[in-house]
């Protein structure tokens, strides 16, 4: 069962993009939030 027609190939790429783009957005958001973790400066929580 192999798929060769350009339309089917386009549909396959589209299907992967539909799921890959939101995942990539989620990864990007998490990486951005985690950047301060690797900075040298450590902010100490104020004592409660």
């Amino acid at each position: 069962m192999s798929q060769t027609s350009p339309l089917k190939r386009f549909f396959l790429i589209l299907a992967w993009l539909i799921v890959a783009l939101p995942l990539a957005w989620g990864v990007y958001q998490s990486v951005q939030r985690s950047i301060p973790l690797f900075s040298r400066e450590v902010r100490i929580e104020p004592a409660k």
Binding site: M1, S2, F11, L23, G26, R33, L37, I44
Partner: protein, 439 residues
């Protein structure tokens, strides 16, 4: 409806099997939102006059409990009905649960949230979790670990999308009179319905006896024995099923204890701000997601038993290293160690369907997987309770908050030791044993 039946989803000649993973990921990516539900906790406490964090926390707990129960009880129906009907049912429950929850917010009824997101949504989680997994293993008999790893990776990724999306939508809909939670639930329900129905539309099951071109049965290629093809009612009466139940339960208990407390643990151990702790939790989610695909794919080459041996032995060593990273106050090393641990936690989830397939065949592997998921529900109670109980007891005994987690890490290493022993005892199902349980 005929279009939803299993017969209607049998792939036509020329179908490309690589279309099935995006269908599975689309479904898992949506239901994985449950991992990010905590972003609604604080906004929900402002909805009702007496709503507290523990009250709101029950929504998540009920949902996870229902996930395990639904997967266990509806497993056989899922196998009978096929993936498309199951995904549509999952979509109706999960998105319907979000809509009921939106109504609960508008009416200030916490019980509607328990019913909506917790019970109805939780059933959607269970159905959606197991629906595409057995289909993928049938399409990829040559690489079942990689195939299930891709789907279950989507579940891990669900939190990465759901949490920031939920926050952004609440910001968008927030007004003087509303926190925007109800509107966010409605928009999420619509968005998730679109993605899940997309998955239902493109998923296909292979024709009977279909094999990838040029691929031969494993026993002709390797020394591994051919898996027996036995049903769920027989499988769960075997020793192998319960050993795998322990394997999953121990692996998840250890990992979920860290994941659930990641932000607070990082803040307590290294004195960083809550925002930095939150960033750490987000980073772990990436490794949770990546580990599902990586380790599960590795298991196709090493075998499942070997990869679980790595999770348990290497994992136990890593847990024992955490107190040392705290002692020397090396944050980067702490992040590396915990990230590896969480990658193996995710890997444990993703590898288990292929392990089941190796032992019981693909005949009713979805239903068997469903029953095994009850181990997750139990682990969700054991792991966080242990971490909370031990660290609280340590602080009560006068141990500094920064060092209160150290004993917990040794306990987690011990839990992994139990998992290692259970994994060691797993043997292929003997034909005689198969005959006995089938009687």
């Amino acid at each position: 409806m005929k279009i939803l039946s299993r017969e209607q989803t049998i792939a036509a000649p020329g179908f490309n099997r690589w279309l099935v993973p995006p269908a599975a990921i689309a479904v898992h990516m949506c239901i994985g939102e449950v991992y990010g539900f905590s972003v609604f906790n604080v906004p929900l406490t402002r909805v009702g006059p007496n709503w507290t964090i523990p009250m709101v926390g029950w929504i998540y707990s009920i949902a996870l409990c229902m996930l395990g129960l639904a997967a266990a009880f509806f497993g056989k129906w899922v196998e009978r009905s096929g993936p498309r009907k199951t995904i549509v049912a999952s979509c109706a429950c999960f998105c319907g649960g979000l809509l009921i929850s939106a109504l609960g917010v508008k009416l200030q009824s916490i019980w509607l949230l328990y019913l909506g997101y917790g019970v109805v949504g939780g059933i959607g989680l269970g159905l959606g979790y197991i629906a595409p997994v057995s289909t993928l293993m049938k399409w990829f008999p040559d690489r079942p670990g990689m195939a299930t790893g891709m789907a279950i990776m989507g579940f891990g990724g669900g939190a990465l999308i759901g949490a920031p999306l939920g926050v952004r939508l609440m910001d968008l809909f927030r007004s003087a009179s509303s926190g925007g939670v109800a509107e966010t639930f409605i928009v999420l329900a619509i968005l998730y319905a679109v993605f899940m129905l997309f998955g239902a539309a493109i998923i296909r099951v292979p024709p009977a006896e279909w094999r990838p071109p040029g691929w031969k049965l494993p026993q002709q290629l390797t020394s591994r024995p051919r898996p027996a093809e036995i049903g769920v009612d027989q499988a769960w009466r075997t020793r192998q099923f319960w050993l795998l139940w322990i394997v999953l339960c121990m692996n998840v208990s250890a990992g979920i204890g860290i994941l659930g407390q990641a932000s607070k643990m990082c803040s307590d151990m290294f004195g960083v701000s809550a925002a930095v702790g939150g960033g750490f939790a987000g980073l772990l989610s990436i490794f949770n997601m990546g580990g599902r695909f990586f380790w599960s794919s590795v298991s196709d080459y090493t075998g499942r038993k070997v990869v679980y041996r790595i999770y348990f032995l290497f994992g136990a060593v890593l847990y024992c290293l955490i107190p040392w990273t705290q002692n020397i106050q090396n944050r980067i090393l702490f992040v590396v160690v915990t990230a590896l641990i969480i990658s193996m936690y995710g890997g444990g989830f993703a590898t288990i369907p292929a392990y089941l397939r190796d032992l019981f065949g693909t005949h009713q592997v979805g239903a068997i997987h469903g029953r095994l998921i009850t181990a997750w529900s139990v682990a969700a109670l054991i792991g966080p309770t242990l971490v909370n109980y031990i660290s609280t007891a340590q602080i009560a005994r006068g141990v500094a908050a920064a060092e209160a987690y150290n004993s917990t890490m040794y306990v987690m290493a011990g839990i992994l030791g139990i998992g290692y022993l259970a994994n060691r005892l797993v043997r292929p199902l003997a034909h005689q044993e198969t005959d006995e349980v089938a009687r």
